[in-house]
């Protein structure tokens, strides 16, 4: 009886709370995936980091056009090529009231390098942090690195005192049995604070009144719910239960647009979708060609390239929400990308190339493809298969869920693939990331460029890549980058397909900035 009474009282209280919260400006939004944990160093994944970017801040940040601007560091200078000095902002407080100082920066870097961290590459492990005074920090590098802070938009500074007090210095790895305090609670300096977080169910944010920066947002409260089912997510937006939902499946865009109170914001994403071919093994694993590897011949690779009708894929499968790509990087991220063009779609030329290479009758090859990772990934693979059939190549398509796909094609699966589809976003927004991960040589264990699944190797690329890493002069650097792209384009190291599009469903009265890296940040949102 007593419990029931108490329950009812709580209920009345809760209803009262809801009524008062209704006056505040609340944004309700949904994403297809879940926000599993709040620890900013435990998962290098766009959605998690983007959600935490409302709560935590880095020394530098990126604005809605992805340009770097000061954040917790007011300014910085490169004292000498291997020493960067950051002047920290005064008077910044964490959500619990603690002051932000140089100690916190040094601590954060230390924790970032700890076991279980998934973001170690944000600051190289050989970088040293020296505290000059309370508001000045030096980063000492082993080598010059012009893009040191390119990824710091998502390297968030934590409060040393809070983390230590809550025994959360060690990042929980999944093998531990106790939950980490920082995985369930957050204490940043950002424009919003986490009020409640139920992993996989709901996360509620409230405005941080004491934020150091002037907010463009008028939101008082934000409620996030993950909705995995596409149909439900779209329905919830259409019915007005949500103010914002993403992603909207391309086939539903029209439906959302036709609804009077909702619209879809589209734009190109930074991720490039591409095909890769095994050029390393002497005999393909999944093919009827025995004793040799047709993909070692650049003519075969180019024939594959020219046999694929990207405009057709754009029109039929992506419903025009994609941008065919000539490079392995989004044109937004490389100033000279306009100089590059795709090889034209030309099945006849492709057939001739195949005949030249001695495969006039074609051959058969297995293709690996994820079916729940990228926009319409499986359909793209099917289309590619049918286009290649026209030049005599018989594709044996193996499309499977990402968990199985990645287990097969990545290093842990022994690069067990002959022909595959993959997507890549350079997290530093810079070409070097692509060269070091995808275009460089690798050995069988994956040392070198680990995500070069096909094992393409041109020593010149590695050589130039090393120079790019250290070159501080922007023009010279871009020139070196253009050289690499010229080589990989001529070698047909991979077949870039397109940049898929972003599609965010937005209700009437919501204004927001759509960042091309698919980060949804509340500080750019206003609701009328």
């Amino acid at each position: 009886m007593n419990t029931i009474k108490r329950g009812l009282l709580t209920a009345v209280f809760a209803v009262g709370l809801t009524a008062s919260a209704a006056h505040a400006t609340t944004l309700k939004y949904a994403f297809q995936g879940t926000l599993n944990q709040l620890d900013p160093y435990s998962l290098n994944e766009t959605f998690t980091l983007s959600a935490l970017g409302n709560v935590y801040e880095g020394l530098t940040r990126r604005n809605e056009n992805l340009e770097i601007e000061p954040s917790l560091a007011e300014s910085w200078e490169v004292v000498e090529p291997t020493r960067w000095r950051f002047h920290l902002r005064h008077g910044v407080k964490f959500h619990n009231g603690n002051d932000f100082t140089a100690e916190d920066v040094a601590f954060s870097v230390m924790r970032l390098h700890g076991e279980g961290s998934d973001l170690k590459t944000r600051v190289g492990t050989d970088v040293k942090v020296e505290i000059v005074d309370d508001y000045t920090v030096d980063f000492v590098l082993p080598d010059a690195n012009p893009i040191l802070n390119y990824e710091w938009d998502t390297f968030y500074i934590m409060d040393k005192e809070w983390t230590e007090a809550n025994d959360a210095v060690a990042i929980t790895s999944a093998s531990d049995t106790t939950a980490n305090y920082a995985a369930l609670h957050a204490n940043g300096t950002g424009p919003f604070k986490v009020v409640s977080h139920e992993p996989g169910v709901k996360t509620v944010y409230e405005k941080n009144e004491a934020w150091w920066d002037e907010s463009h947002s008028n939101l008082d409260r934000v409620e996030f719910t993950p909705i995995g089912s596409d149909a439900t997510r779209v329905a919830a937006l259409l019915s007005g239960e949500l103010d914002m939902a993403y992603p909207i499946p391309v086939q539903d865009i029209k439906r959302v647009e036709q609804n009077a109170t909702t619209s879809v914001m589209t734009g190109p994403e930074l991720r490039t979708i591409f095909l890769g071919m095994d050029q390393m093994r002497d005999e393909l694993l999944h093919s009827d060609v025995k004793g040799k590897n047709p993909f070692k011949d650049v003519r075969v690779r180019k024939a594959f390239y020219q046999a694929i009708d990207m405009e057709g894929i754009k029109r039929k499968i992506m419903r025009n929400l994609s941008e065919p790509a000539a490079l392995m990087i989004s044109p937004f991220l490389f100033s000279r990308s306009a100089e590059f063009e795709r090889y034209p779609y030309d099945p006849e030329a492709a057939k001739a190339l195949m005949a030249d290479a001695g495969y006039g009758d074609g051959f058969s090859v297995g293709m690996d493809c994820p079916n729940d990772r990228y926009v319409n990934d499986e359909q793209i693979c099917q289309a590619v298969a049918s286009m290649l059939a026209r030049i005599g190549v018989k594709i044996d398509l193996n499309a499977q869920p990402k968990a199985k796909y990645f287990a097969k094609v990545l290093a842990s699966g022994g690069y067990d693939t002959s022909f595959y589809l993959l997507g890549w976003t350079p997290s530093s927004f810079d070409s070097w990331n692509i060269f070091s991960n995808i275009e460089g040589c690798r050995d069988e264990q994956g040392n070198g460029a680990p995500f070069n699944l096909g094992g393409y190797c041109n020593p010149k690329v590695d050589e130039l890549s090393k120079q790019i890493l250290k070159e501080n002069d922007q023009t010279k650097r871009d020139d070196l980058i253009a050289q690499v792209y010229t080589i990989t384009h001529e070698d047909v190291s991979h077949i870039p397909l397109h940049q898929q599009g972003l599609a965010w469903g937005v209700a009437q009265g919501i204004e927001l900035a759509q960042r091309a890296d698919n980060q949804f940040l509340f500080r750019f949102v206003t609701k009328n």
Binding site: T3, G7, L8, T10, A11, A14, V15, T18, T34, N36, Q37, D39, S42, L43, N44, E45, D118, K120, T121, T172, A174, S175, D176, T177, T178, A179, N180, A183, L184, E198, P199, G200, K202, T225, P226, I227, G228, S229, A231, T232, A235, A236, S239, G240, E241, D372, P401, K402, A403, K404, Y405, F406, A407, L410, A411, S412, N437, Q445, G446, F451
Partner: protein, 323 residues
């Protein structure tokens, strides 16, 4: 009686063990959990180190023994995705699933029984025919489709009911309930109907068939001959005797509802255990998957065990010929 219970208990344990073993063997084919736990740029050496720490490199029997040893103590390990103990996660999700299951069972009983009685008594009326056609839809349409249909009708078009979530939830400390708020009640209607539709159909058809059977029996004819009013004959004498199989079926189906709420929970983003299980499958979260399968087996085994014992208590014939 005691010996019978002990024997049954022993069999139940064997079933649980076999389920655990089967589940565990299947996980080898779901994919690589480590890849789901790290970002794409994590180096191969670090992935290998993580795999080692998780014990994924140990031989299968060792991993299984470790799992069983933990499960006996209700320790199912730490979720790969959430980095929290699986037992805690289940405790948090259990109320949502149980509330949904009981509400849908209630819905199935409260609509299924009257419809069945009516259809049994008035075989030829047009309303009975409508009931039967509706029940055919309930059996033949897949759950997720019914769910989406209801969402588009009641959420998008009419905008009466929410399309996802549990609404405002009140936390009572040991239990979180949505049944104390208006939004919570609104939120539970669509999922409960979706989940209960199949059971409703089943109950309705069962009652109808039983009713048809019972009203032909002699004692009903005598009751009528005695001049008892129809209401008493139909509801007290006829319906009561149809309920025995219904109670059995409902009991068994309740287990099924709890265990297979997965699809309904996914369609309505209902934050219960089924939704967590599906997310776990996508992310190869082995601790959650194994715990869920074990728990499902446990629910079934328990329900069957209780039903067996009840039969033994109710039906004297089972007791004859046993020591």
């Amino acid at each position: 009686m005691f010996g019978f219970a002990i024997r049954r208990l022993f069999q139940a344990l064997i079933v649980m063990f076999v389920v655990a073993l089967l589940a565990f063997t299947m996980f080898r084919f779901v994919g690589d959990p480590v890849n789901q736990m790290v970002g794409v740029e994590t180096s191969i050496a670090e992935r290998e180190a993580l795999r080692q720490r998780l014990g994924l490199n140990d031989p299968m029997p060792v991993q299984f023994a470790r799992f069983v040893a933990g499960a006996v103590k209700f320790d199912f390990g730490t979720s790969y995705q959430f980095r929290q103990p699986v037992a805690d996660l289940f405790a948090k999700r259990l109320p949502a699933t149980l509330e949904l299951s009981f509400m849908s069972a209630l819905f199935a009983l409260l609509t299924g029984i009257p419809m069945g009685v009516y259809a049994g008594l008035n075989r030829e009326s047009w309303l009975s025919k409508i009931f039967l056609s509706v029940s055919l839809i309930g059996v033949s349409l897949p759950t997720f489709f019914i769910g989406i249909l209801l969402i588009f009708l009641f959420s998008v078009t009419l905008q009466w009911l929410p399309s996802f979530g549990r609404g405002e939830v009140v936390d009572l400390g040991w239990w979180s309930t949505g049944l104390l708020t208006v939004s919570g009640w609104k939120a539970i209607i669509l999922p409960a109907v979706t989940l209960g539709l199949y059971q409703m159909t089943l109950i309705m058809r069962l009652i109808r068939a039983e009713m048809l059977e019972v009203i032909r029996t002699d004692y009903i004819k005598f009751a009528r001959a005695r001049g008892l009013p129809d209401r008493i004959v139909n509801l007290r004498h006829a319906l009561k005797n149809t309920l025995v199989p219904v109670i059995t079926i409902t009991g068994l189906q309740l287990g099924a509802i709890i265990a297979f709420a997965t699809i309904t929970e996914t369609v309505f983003q209902w934050p219960g255990m089924g939704l967590m299980f599906l997310q776990a499958v996508q992310n190869v979260d082995i601790p959650i998957m194994s715990a869920y399968l074990l728990m499902t087996a446990f629910i079934f085994v328990t329900v069957n065990f209780i039903v067996d014992i009840l039969y033994y208590v109710i039906d004297p014939r089972l007791r004859i010929g046993r020591p």
